[in-house]
């Protein structure tokens, strides 16, 4: 049984009286105990996808269609009140910037307690005990002292630990982590990632990890989805994706990463830029204009998500014909 199943999800924003889909027909599933990474450049729709799962899009200027199945229920059909009971309790989110996600006027202890007050029946004393226990669980050495402090008194790594404590306070089944370590130093990043992984082992929650950092993916993920211009263009288990990337975009992305163990003089550059939401080509392969040396016939007219081995999926057929191009513009 899947923990979460997203089917044909579209999230569109209104720009000048027309809707443009930032997430365009995304389908995937998340299992218990799994870390699913979503990778992509800024503007590819990965954060929009995350916020649509916990229902943060409403109003006239957003249009969300498709299905987000959590158990028996479609999250998109729930009322705001029903959603309030799921958000934070069963599906929790960790944001990128802990300083702006925490309330600067509230003590750390009170902020963690807030979630418990709303979602559980615990008494005041029990809640306070649980807060200290949570702070200890996320590796804060003096929980009593930290609980009385304000966000500005903590370091970036400590704040992110507090965010994680809030996220796991109600033992959620799904944790969505949107770039949880982007704002942190490498040493702290390693600690936070290890912590997330341990907590997941203890609680058995499913984690959706959103990031642009392939190093983080390599350390954390079980399964990876690569997003480009609102679509998922490749999906595979992490080992397979790193040893055998197939889609041109994924391959180019790996190619442009500065490697610790290589002495290559120049980095590979992906030509062109990600098209903006309005200028996005809505038919054909969306990546085609960034690999102009690949003949047009290589792309499908209506690209489908092809299964190329047991658990490896790739969009469009252009991967079969793809070759890197060197500096002089010749294919090698």
């Amino acid at each position: 049984m899947d923990l979460l199943a997203v089917r044909n999800l579209h999230v569109g924003f209104r720009i000048n009286d027309a809707f443009y889909d930032a997430v365009d027909g995304v389908s995937f599933t998340l299992k218990n105990n799994e870390i699913l990474a979503i990778v992509g450049e800024s503007g590819c729709g990965k954060s929009t996808l995350a916020t649509s799962i916990i229902g943060l899009h409403h109003g006239r200027n957003v249009r969300v269609t498709g299905e987000i199945l959590y158990g028996e229920r479609n999250l998109l059909e729930l009322s705001e009140e029903e959603m309030d009971h799921i958000r934070g309790a069963e599906i929790a989110m960790i944001f990128q910037d802990p300083l702006s996600a925490l309330n600067p006027l509230m003590r750390i202890g009170d902020q963690i307690e807030e979630a418990l007050t709303y979602h559980t029946e615990l008494s005041k004393v029990e809640r306070e005990e649980r807060v200290l226990q949570l702070l200890k669980q996320v590796g804060i050495h003096r929980p009593e002292q930290t609980a009385r402090q304000f966000p500005h008194q903590l370091s970036g790594g400590m704040r992110q630990r507090v965010m994680i404590a809030i996220a796991i306070s109600c033992k959620p089944k799904i944790i969505i982590a949107d770039e949880p370590t982007t704002a942190l130093d490498v040493t702290i990043q390693a600690q936070i990632l290890d912590l997330l992984k341990e907590l997941q082992k203890e609680t058995g929650a499913g984690i959706i990890l959103i990031t642009h950092d392939l190093g983080v993916v390599a350390e954390m993920a079980d399964r990876v989805m690569v997003m480009y211009a609102g679509e998922i263009i490749e999906e595979a288990p992490v080992q397979k994706l790193f040893s055998n990337p197939r889609h041109p975009y994924t391959r180019l992305l790996f190619h442009s990463m500065p490697q610790l163990h290589s002495t290559k003089k120049r980095l590979h550059v992906i030509e062109g830029i990600v098209p903006s939401l309005i200028n996005l080509p809505r038919s054909g392969c969306r990546f085609s204009h960034r690999i102009p040396w690949i003949p047009k016939e290589a792309h499908e007219e209506q690209p489908k998500f092809h299964k190329i081995s047991k658990d490896h999926f790739v969009k469009c057929t252009c991967w079969k014909y793809f070759r890197f191009r060197d500096e002089k513009g010749e294919a090698d």
Binding site: D185, T187, Q189, A190, Q191, D194, L214, Q239, Q259, L260
Partner: protein, 311 residues
């Protein structure tokens, strides 16, 4: 350029009459040397003083004590005056490409500013120079009439580089120039920085916390911790033969580029973290200051209390 025993201390004020009650030792006695045409890396975690060092060098930060020598001359005082020779030769690129461009000025005016300040060219030649600059950074000529918000992050960073190049400087201080950019754009900007370096014989001081990028770019690397250098050496010294505990910790926490063997890496990392916590106090003297550097070879220096302590 040479930096001798640079110190930047901030006063903490409080108590009666707002008197100075303590000091923050942001940068506490560092020595650096830059040679023409090389790239120098300055690495450390946030708050270690690496940006302060960059700003102090170019004159955006008051220096408490120490000397900055540029081509044999003492420029420590000169850095303040806007029209000094020093400012022509040393330029800076900032991390946030967007907020370092004036949103109300067109690209032509942004690029013209350093030219007007230092070169005093007639208008026609000024325009020619701007066209040249845009060509160097690979931007279309019509971007002159546009405003900063019309460009993507990578393009804006290239405009910043163009502005830094306008006065034909010798040294460019780049404070985290690519940390805000996507991987593919980052590759673009880094390649491009290498190209202009070759063309103009530039020297870079590359301030970053990303050890992968630093390894790709730099010839010589300084590792900074709590306002002091704990280790410096060539790229090979640092990456293949790190000596200081802190350097080793930094290197161990870089995520690898393959999922193979990640469990093993994780347990190694956690075991190392325990060693680090147990032994890091040895890196400081009784005043909580990191020890002075001791030479290991001609290029490789490590901070330690005595040579015996280095393992």
């Amino acid at each position: 350029m040479q930096v001798v025993d640079l110190k930047v201390h901030y006063p903490i004020r409080g108590g009666f009459f707002n008197s100075v009650i303590d000091w923050v030792y942001a940068v506490d006695g560092i020595d650096m040397e830059f040679e023409q045409g090389k790239t120098y890396g300055l690495v450390g975690e946030s708050g270690c003083g690496k940006s302060t060092t960059g700003k102090a060098l170019i004159g955006l930060e008051k220096i408490t004590s120490g000397k900055i020598l540029f081509e044999g001359e003492d420029v420590t005082k000169d850095r303040k005056s806007r029209t000094s020779h020093f400012h022509r030769e040393v330029q800076m690129i900032f991390q946030d490409s967007h907020s370092s461009l004036n949103p109300r000025k067109r690209i032509a005016d942004i690029l013209a500013e350093p030219i007007r300040n230092f070169l005093h060219l007639p208008p026609r030649e000024e325009m020619k120079k701007i066209d040249e600059l845009l060509e160097i950074v690979g931007m279309p000529a019509d971007s002159k009439e546009k405003y900063p918000h019309e460009f993507s992050g990578g393009q804006k960073q290239r405009i910043n580089i163009a502005r830094a190049l306008a006065t034909n400087p010798k040294l460019i201080i780049a404070d985290e120039p690519v940390s805000a950019l996507d991987l593919s754009v980052q590759a673009q900007v880094l390649n491009f920085m290498k190209d202009v370096q070759k063309e103009f014989g530039l020297t870079y001081l590359f301030i970053s916390h990303d050890l992968g990028v630093v390894k790709h770019m730099c010839d010589y690397i300084y590792i900074m911790y709590k306002g002091r250098f704990v280790e410096c050496g060539t790229k090979e010294d640092i990456y293949e033969n790190p000596k200081h505990l802190y350097t080793k910790r930094l290197l161990s926490s870089i995520p690898a580029s393959t999922p193979v063997g990640r469990e093993k890496r994780k347990s190694a990392r956690q075991a190392f973290e325990k060693v680090y916590e147990k032994h890091i106090h040895k890196a400081f003297d009784e005043n909580g200051r990191v020890y002075d550097l001791i030479p290991l070879s001609d290029t490789h220096y490590v901070s330690a209390s005595s040579k015996k302590e280095i393992v």
